[in-house]
């Protein structure tokens, strides 16, 4: 698979510095890639070669500036600790609901460090990182489950809520143990294997308002992320935590965004929060702290369309938050059955309206939907009509 990902990578790096030629755009399209190739969920999420190749090809098909190869991040460590993963045709892998893994302090004391070569899909993830590096020439982005979301994954969300109210000391003990015996060793291993990397990103969807209260955020989210960052900073690693939403439901959104900068090392806003709070607010906070800004276009809009609405959203965010050169657009989790023309439209709009210097009246520049090669033709041209792996039932071949 040959494709020069360095061009897009340079554009993203330039956006961090405020000097790109164009607003970069990339997408989290794991399920969409699986859908396009018609690969059964369990095959896709357990076979590194298939998993990496499908996502890289689909990233290339859409002309994204960065390849996106993301697993079902928030299941990985929980699975290694013993939670069962369910593979369903219509969704990304799910953790099987069940009783909490840890009920007593003795249970917590017995937590052992997962074996990255044997437990759950930790070996799968390490092989994915290797293959991404091999196929793109870029260091693979390392992912982990952020502490609070790992807590919810192993215990069940409602149990966490009840423990936060009735047994907060137990919860604190469990969080600290998960950090020391699970997260820190796993992050260190993933950053060293197979090629060294210096940054890892945590996914923290459970740490979102109104799924949590302000007091839970102050007590169980913020300090845990900071403890993780502190522990790895001294070893030269940079840890960012993203994926929490609900900024618009916080008591004080501006203060929350300021804290997000601290946790993310940049600022990322996701729809529908960006829609509700306005992209200017995100741009102001990012500028005040001198960090790059990522704005996420919501997956429902990308799925439902129409193209005109997608183009308007992209143009709007660029016009209102992209003028200082530090904006990157992200298409949030793309549902499997999203029409390809919707993603093509978002990418084309970003590269049309996002050309620097940004024009004064973007709405005066007409958008023309580009001719897009059907995915089947692209896959045939790439010699990957179906990925032709054991277990694949790809329907395009």
């Amino acid at each position: 698979m040959t494709h020069d990902w360095l061009i897009g990578r340079r554009r993203v790096a330039a956006a961090v510095m405020g000097t790109p030629d164009c607003v970069p755009i990339y997408a989290a399209l794991t399920e969409h890639a699986r859908y396009l190739f018609g690969i059964p969920p369990q095959t896709f999420y357990t076979t590194p070669e298939v998993f990496v190749e499908a996502q890289l090809l689909v990233s290339k098909y859409y002309g994204l500036d960065l390849p996106s190869v993301r697993a079902d991040v928030i299941n990985i460590e929980a699975e290694a600790l013993g939670r069962r993963v369910l593979y369903r045709q219509r969704s990304a892998p799910l953790l099987e609901p069940g009783p909490p893994l840890y009920r007593t302090a003795e249970d917590v004391e017995a937590i052992r460090e997962p074996d990255p070569q044997a437990d759950g899909r930790l070996p799968f993830m390490l092989e994915v990182y290797r293959l991404v590096g091999e196929n793109t020439g870029l260091p693979a982005e390392r992912w982990f489950t952020a502490p609070f979301s790992l807590l919810c994954a192993v215990q069940g969300y409602e149990r966490v809520v009840r423990d936060a109210a009735h047994d907060p000391r137990f919860l604190g003990y469990l969080l600290a143990t998960l950090r020391e015996r699970v997260l820190l060793p796993w992050i260190r291993t993933s950053l060293k294997h197979p090629l060294p990397a210096w940054a890892a990103t945590g996914d923290d969807p459970w740490a979102s308002f109104p799924v949590i209260t302000p007091s839970m955020y102050s007590r169980f989210v913020l300090p845990e992320v900071m403890a993780l960052q502190d522990a790895l900073r001294s070893e030269g690693y940079r840890i960012a935590v993203m994926g929490a939403w609900g900024d618009a439901r916080a008591d004080d959104p501006v203060t929350l965004l300021e804290e997000r900068v601290r946790l993310q090392g940049a600022l990322r806003g996701l729809d529908p929060d960006v829609q509700r709070l306005g992209p200017e607010l995100y741009a102001r906070v990012a500028e005040r702290h001198g960090v790059a800004l990522g704005l996420g276009i919501d997956s429902r809009l990308i799925h439902d369309g129409p193209v005109e609405a997608i183009v308007t959203r992209v143009r709007d965010y660029i016009g209102r938050a992209g003028r200082n050169g530090r904006l990157t657009l992200i298409i949030n989790n793309v549902p499997g059955d999203t029409p390809s023309e919707h993603i093509h439209a978002a990418v084309a709009a970003a590269h049309l309206y996002g050309l620097y210097p940004i024009g004064e009246r973007l709405e005066g520049t007409p958008f023309v939907m580009p001719d897009c090669e059907p995915f089947e033709d692209f896959a045939r041209r790439e010699g990957r009509l179906a990925l032709n792996r054991p277990g694949s039932t790809a329907s395009h071949g």
Partner: protein, 214 residues
């Protein structure tokens, strides 16, 4: 007497389950009729929690804890509330479609519906079409509530409706759907009786479907 009921209501609002249970017991000991304890203290509390949710002052954990307090207090008086054991409350069966294990929205709705005096049968998550059909046949609910929380899993809803139709059960009940990716146009397209964007709206829709609209 009113003080005890107020305290009980506050305990439910604040999500203090042990205190709510103790106060329900104290209300019974003080000779307050079970129906009054239920309506004024217990339901009054969960309704107040719902109001606080609607105006963004309560978050999901607050509602979960209030629901816990509601359930524990209700358990204390349940026997006195229905001494004959016959449950004549309107019945609603709830479940989340197969392939979807998001249970939060469904759990909150179940608590709010129970708070409104409905008999809720909760099938849980990852429920197959066949299980929905079995539950409808066995429980004979007035309403079936189906939740789907992903754009991919909501496609199971028309399959459940077809299975109900095939089993000759569809015309006997109203079907209400909800969940993040669902919309009124989707509800119209699959031919259900109601759609609700959140738990509070679902309660209003349930009352409407039961002919109890407020």
């Amino acid at each position: 007497m009113d003080d005890l009921l107020d305290e009980l209501k506050n305990a439910v609002v604040e999500g203090d389950a042990d205190r709510a249970a103790g106060l329900a017991q104290a209300c019974l000991a003080a000779g307050i009729p079970a129906a009054t304890i239920f309506e004024t203290g217990i339901v009054g509390g969960i309704r107040e929690a719902g109001v606080l949710w609607d105006c963004d002052r309560y978050r999901v954990p607050d509602v979960i804890l209030s629901a816990d307090a509601f359930n524990l207090a209700l358990a204390v008086i349940e026997q006195q509330l229905r001494p004959g054991g016959d449950d004549v409350r309107p019945k609603i069966v709830l479940g989340v479609v197969e392939g979807d294990v998001h249970d939060l929205g469904k759990n909150i709705l179940a608590a709010i519906l129970r708070g409104a005096g409905l008999h809720v049968v909760d099938l849980g998550v990852d429920v197959s079409a066949a299980s929905f059909v079995d539950a409808v046949r066995h429980e004979e609910p007035a309403i079936l509530g189906i939740g789907a929380y992903m754009s991919t899993t909501m496609l199971a809803i028309p399959e459940i409706l077809a299975a109900l139709e095939h089993a000759g059960l569809r015309s006997r009940l109203k079907v209400l759907i909800g969940g993040v990716p669902t919309t009124q146009p989707f509800a119209d397209s699959v031919g259900v009786d109601g759609w609700a964007p959140d738990a509070s709206a679902a309660l209003r829709k349930v009352k409407e479907l039961l002919g109890r609209g407020e």
